[in-house]
Symmetry: C2
Subunit: 353 residues, 2 copies
């Protein structure tokens, strides 16, 4: 069978190959793709259901927000965390970056025969701890087993239902908006890679996986002097890393983005590991970080609130949206040159979520 007629690893990696598969095979064949403001075509972090039109004639514009993710990370236990905390955090964060408070989660697990019950219970406890952190109940589930020849590690799907008074999109960026990153990049992907491959990074680097709703909810109500929402767009830089998320935001918003390398929060251990391994830290997945785009006048206020949170203490303004270079991301490097930051095409570190 020729290489272009089968599914390849990069089809699930969050880069261009996946976008092509989604557009050419999935979207093309689905007739009804929307139930509200944000649908399947938007390829946002989730979608919305306009509940007012289904339920009552309210004048409020609340939308139910829904997002789903299947987590296949291997091994399921990694430095300081596990697939359970990741599954809950990932879904809570997809709701959060759309401006939605989590109302409930569902959890569907596929477990290989022979998986240790102790490990299974640890994973459930971690799911619970992450869910408790943001006060979201887990209300429905499903458990399937697969023979050990058919599956080698646990897979957890979490779907989240949230509610947003105002939905925040990943396409709302306007020229002049400032771009806040809520913490250091690459911690999750690099700590996982080191753990899996047995590299000794000579550091206490651990995954950053965390549920961000408590932090994000504190900045959603902020308004400009004119009373408009201060936040114009949000996204979490998971698969495809910061490079993938920023490119998607620039393309969807029709703006350019310029970031400053010197302002990028990054740990020394991540930086040197990336150099050693020939990996661009901008392309490495994060699981406890958000990109928050805000009106210039509110940037310092939002930043200072974010920094007060445990998960936002390393937050920084890393750049801004521009009129020029529409759909492109540029980086001013520490040596003063400018370079394009492209959408990652493949998957350098598979199974990171």
């Amino acid at each position: 069978m020729s290489k272009d007629k089968i599914v390849r690893m990069e089809h699930g990696a969050g880069g261009e190959a996946m976008q092509t598969l989604i557009r050419d095979v999935i979207l093309k064949n689905i007739t009804n793709r929307s139930a509200g403001l944000v649908g399947l075509d938007d390829l946002d972090d989730g979608a919305t259901i306009n509940i007012a039109s289904n339920i009552h004639d309210s004048e409020r514009s609340d939308e139910i927000v829904i997002t789903t993710d299947s987590h296949v990370i291997k091994p399921p236990f990694f430095p300081d965390s596990n697939i359970g905390r990741l599954a809950v955090s990932g879904t809570v964060n997809d709701l959060a970056v759309m401006g939605a408070a989590p109302l409930a989660l569902t959890c569907a697990m596929v477990v290989p025969e022979g998986f240790e019950l102790d490990s299974f219970e640890k994973i459930i406890r971690s799911m619970n701890a992450a869910a408790e952190e943001v006060g979201v109940p887990i209300i429905a589930g499903d458990t399937k087993t697969v023979d050990r020849n058919g599956l080698d590690s646990i897979i957890i799907n979490t779907t989240g239902i949230g509610i947003a008074y105002e939905v925040i999109r990943d396409c709302g960026l306007c020229p002049g908006d400032r771009i806040i990153l809520t913490g250091t990049i690459g911690d999750h992907g690099i700590s996982l890679l080191a753990h899996r491959e047995g590299f000794d990074l000579n550091t206490d680097l651990v995954s950053d996986v965390a549920p961000l709703w408590n932090m994000i909810r504190s900045v959603i109500p902020i308004r400009t002097i004119e009373g408009k929402p201060a936040i114009s767009a949000m996204k979490d830089p998971t698969r495809g890393g910061l490079a993938g998320a920023l490119n998607e935001m620039a393309q969807k918003s029709g703006t350019g983005i310029i970031i400053d390398q010197k302002d990028l929060p990054i740990r020394g251990s991540v930086s040197s590991a990336c150099e050693m391994l020939g990996i661009d830290p901008l392309e490495v997945a994060n699981e406890g970080k958000a990109i928050i785009c805000v009106k210039d006048e509110n940037a310092e206020e939002v930043l200072s609130i974010i920094r007060k949170h445990e998960y936002g203490k390393d937050a920084a303004i890393i750049g801004e949206a521009t009129d020029s270079n529409s759909g492109k991301v540029l980086m001013r490097t520490t040596i003063g040159s400018m370079r394009y930051v492209d959408t990652p095409t493949g998957d350098l570190i598979p199974r990171i979520c």
Copy 2:
């Protein structure tokens, strides 16, 4: 490692082992398990979110209903259907048996590297056809790939969001209620088993997988003379078959159930295959059938409406709920004796959904 400290196949099979795992390992460790009328503890076909309390002060009692299922059926293509139609139908049916109109579906796919793109597209088209049949949009998704050593077949999670003016439970059965089964039992499990194992059943038996909402919606509005809902409980007899579903309904409702073997709709080919293979057809999974419990006075009306639908033409009244034998299911056999119908303990036919 001792046998009781690992996950075994029957932990995901829909029988008693799974119930024990859910109660002792999952429910015990989850703190918040409810967001409305039906929560995780109820182990119903889905759960509900009381949206009124979250969204507005409506006097209506609409509840958002949510259900999730990960489908691991192997092979993904089986007689007359495939995992895509199954994934949409299974989730639509879990909403339907709770009385909920489907508002939207999400779809998260885990695809092994090397999976044929043609097959992938066929699956998507089948999902779309099933979704179109009941008019439900697919609004959000996720695509992950796994290396071929880690997974041998596609896994599809579908989560459904529905809305119910009155939620129908699987615990609402009352003594005297009549039990309607909407069609023949065992078609899905037996056709799949024959296909997978290469048995020639000398028949055109195919899977019954179908989305049942259009049929079920037509009987939900029916009322008793006193104006009460005619339907007291519903459930779809999937994993664990009719035996599993009826036992769950009897236990949760605190009634007994007596069914009549002579009234059970079953195809000759299924009956003889079960006999040959030593399988109880009551324990075989169905994917296009529902158990509808109705007040005695409405039973014939509901049955005649169900029979007018394509998916209900073989429907029959198979038994009734009783005061005696609380929590137990009994069957009057064709030779006139009575026997207990127990909850299946293991998994005779794995990977049927």
